[in-house]
């Protein structure tokens, strides 16, 4: 059985990929095994050190989903303003968009742009 997927300018071979996976896995393990073995779970060592302050509750310090990619969304603000105006959630707009796009497609097909 030939598993190689040939495309116009490249290929994908699972066997080759598996060989590389194993190779890099071994390399990774070698690097890992040469690390410092001083880690001891369930001791003071693993607790966060906040200069002697009490640790705030987990719910407070958690990174929330809304905070991730804050910068990206801030940078694309104008684009998202437009999108937000498109997504009104109004049932009638769904049908009106359908009519509009239908008109455009019909114009292209019949009018022959």
């Amino acid at each position: 059985m030939n598993f190689t997927l040939l495309s116009p300018s490249g290929f994908w071979d699972p066997v080759l990929w598996l060989i590389f996976l194993i190779l890099f896995g071994i390399i990774g393990y070698i690097i890992y095994s040469r690390g410092n073995p001083g880690y001891k779970p369930k001791t003071e060592q693993v607790k966060p050190y906040l200069s002697g302050n009490a640790e705030p509750s987990k719910e407070k310090i958690m990174v929330r989903a809304g905070d991730i990619y804050w910068g990206f969304i801030e940078a694309m603000k104008e684009y998202y303003e437009v999108l937000k105006r498109m997504h009104t959630g109004d049932l009638r707009d769904y049908i009106l968009w359908y009519l509009g796009i239908g008109a455009v497609i019909l114009f292209i097909l019949v009018g022959g742009v």
């Binding site: 009104t88 959630g89 109004d90 049932l91 009638r92 049908i95 009106l96 009519l99």
Partner: protein, 122 residues
């Protein structure tokens, strides 16, 4: 002659008017029940269109019992009528389901205003 063309195309003119009316009702009315009525008008338009297509001048209904002699070889193919019936049957199910949803929406939102029924957006 000109009158004839209008007479022949009259059902299709009505279909076009009904389609426009249906889309207007769906697109610009605020009450959810009116939107449902708009869908029903659209359905009526499409059914009328199919029925008008099935009309053949001088043709006979394809019912064999009590058909006159001259109907032989002159019966219309009942496909458009069958399509219309099927579409009506489907329309009943659709309208029943739409109204059921409307009732349930009214219970939870306390309104049938389409501009207020949009908790799902963005």
């Amino acid at each position: 002659m000109n009158g004839d063309i209008i007479a022949i195309n009259f059902p299709f003119i009505v279909v076009a008017l009904l389609l426009a009316l249906g889309f207007y009702t769906i697109g610009f009315k605020r009450n959810l029940i009116k939107v449902v009525i708009g869908v029903e008008i659209l359905e009526g338009a499409v059914n009328l269109f199919l029925i008008a297509l099935g009309y053949v001048k001088g043709g006979y209904a394809p019912i064999y019992t009590l058909a006159p002699k001259k109907a032989v070889g002159n019966m219309v193919l009942p496909t458009p009528q069958a399509l219309t019936l099927t579409s009506i049957v489907i329309g009943v199910a659709v309208s029943a389901l739409m109204l059921a949803f409307a009732v349930n929406i009214y219970r939870h939102y306390g309104t049938l205003d389409v501009t207020k029924i949009r908790r799902l957006r963005g």
